[in-house]
């Protein structure tokens, strides 16, 4: 038997009989169809159910436009903050050995385990009228809860782990040899960071930013607690969807929701592209290492 014949017969033993395979595939796709595709399709069907004019009117409505702006502003503030934090945390964790590193990693993951409602609640307890800083804030006429700063704070809390989480495993697998080489050749710290580290991590970083941004724009529970739902003032897009829906303006609610669904689809497409690039970068790093181009 030829070697190729052997592998194909070996692969045969790892596959189910064709009939079973067909059933498994059918059940899996039906499940995904019912739970993922149908809800996504219904968003667009409902959005256009009253025609393109109603759809357009719901999106250019002043309250909707304000919600879109507030969502963009929130993401524009919280995503860059978490990018800086993510890079700093990943640098400290992957380039140095120190005590308590595992505790730091657990702390970074903490916001993922906190319910969105609780994430909002903690900021109400800090800055709300009855909160720890409440009296001081109201004496100085600063509003955080039921205002834009509260929305940004809660969103930043929720999305804090995303960038760090993508960068830590990537930078760990890349090691520090290239940085050490640059430094021993006389580059200073910032030059090394901008010219060596950033080009190496750019795809992983972009991946983290995409995920962080999707969550920042779509966050509902935490923002709902701190916003106070003031129409045209403290409503983000997801909150605007809720208000329209509760007003029985279904076509309008789904029209705004369809914008968020398109954001989700764009996120998935970008994610797929970047994932592919990250895999390429990693494969390249491995190949270089195995060829001995980087002294171990």
């Amino acid at each position: 038997m030829t070697p190729s014949g052997q592998t194909s017969s070996a692969e045969q033993t790892r596959l189910e009989p064709p009939a079973v395979r067909f059933v498994l595939l059918g059940v899996a796709l039906t499940f995904l169809g019912l739970f993922l595709v149908v809800p996504l399709a219904v968003v667009f069907a409902q959005a256009f159910s009253k025609g393109i004019h109603v759809y357009w009117a719901a999106i250019v409505d002043p309250d909707a436009r304000h919600a879109i702006c507030l969502t963009l502003v929130t993401a524009l503030v919280s995503v860059p903050m978490n990018v800086v934090f993510g890079i700093a945390a990943a640098w400290a964790i992957t380039k140095f050995e120190f005590r308590g590193k595992n505790i730091l990693i657990t702390l970074i993951d903490l916001p993922f385990t906190v319910s969105p409602v609780i994430s909002g609640l903690i900021f109400v307890l800090l800055f709300g009228a009855q909160g720890a800083f409440g009296p001081w804030l109201s004496a100085h006429d600063i509003k955080i809860i039921f205002a834009v700063p509260g929305i940004i704070l809660a969103t930043t809390f929720i999305t804090a782990p995303f960038v760090a989480r993508e960068l830590i495993p990537l930078m760990q697998s890349q090691g520090s040899e290239e940085e050490e080489a640059a430094l021993s050749l006389g580059a200073n710290g910032w030059q090394t960071f901008w010219r060596v580290t950033i080009p190496n991590i750019k795809w992983g970083l972009l991946y983290g930013v995409i995920l962080c941004n999707a969550r920042a724009m779509g966050e509902f529970g935490a923002v709902s607690v701190v916003s106070g739902h003031v129409r045209g003032r403290t409503n983000t897009m997801p909150l605007h969807v809720e208000i329209l829906y509760n007003d029985y303006n279904f076509a309008g609610a789904f029209a705004v929701a369809s914008l968020l669904a398109m954001l989700a689809l764009a996120t998935l497409a970008l994610k797929k592209i970047v994932e592919w690039r990250v895999r390429q970068t990693l494969a390249e790093a491995e190949r270089m290492a195995s060829q001995g181009k980087i002294p171990a």
Binding site: A89, K95, L104, Y245, A257, L263
Partner: protein, 275 residues
Amino acid sequence: MRLRERSIIPGFGLTLGFSLTYLCLLVLIPLSMLFARTFSMTWTDFWNTVSGPRAIASYKLTFGASFAGASINAVFGLLVAWVLVRHRFWGRDLVDAMVDLPFALPTAVAGIALTAVYSSNGWIGRFLEPLGVKVAFTPLGVIVALTFIGLPFVVRTLEPVIEDLDAEVEEAAATLGATRWQTFVKVIFPGLLPALLTGFSLAFARALGEYGSVVFISGNMPMKTEIAPLLIMTKLEEYDYAGATAIAVTLLLVSFALLLFVNLLQWWSRRSRAT
């Protein structure tokens, strides 16, 4: 012992200092407020709040529906992960990308979409209604929403483990005369179990705190379809900060316990894969 080992790479103080300050200001201090608030309550007040009939009903629904959703995901998530890794079919990449939809789609959008699909005149609800199955505005609706948001956790945890399965063991089992089903039950499944449990726990933990996708489909009837995060929200709207905090602390402690369990599982799975 020194705090850290020597390295020629600069920036240790800057990056660690910044990360710690950021985490303290944004995460630790706000979260500690939750516990500080709880300690200012008397024990009886705390106990009465967290063990009131409405609170108990909300825990039962939250835990029951989260468990049911995570179980559905364990079964179908394993199937989806298996099909995606082992089978080659047209559109596989598209299906693989779609699995992440619950991560990417804002929860409020998922909530109103699922409600529209499963309400009595919805695309799927209208076929279930004659069978006497009501999904929207019942506990079943809560399970549907929690299944939706938990799916990627199980699939994404299992995929790399299925990819890493040792081909030789399966081939050996087949050569020794095991049927495909026997090979799966006795050889493949035990290897997948730690990852399956991890995925299940992650989906379960996420479901416990979920709010956005559930509030629309559940109908929010106290004692019947009110989940614990919604009860926190209701208490906040009534300016009952102490009550909201007490229930939040209870929910948070359970989530932390689950996270600890997941970490133990991952340690167990690393150890069993190493041997």
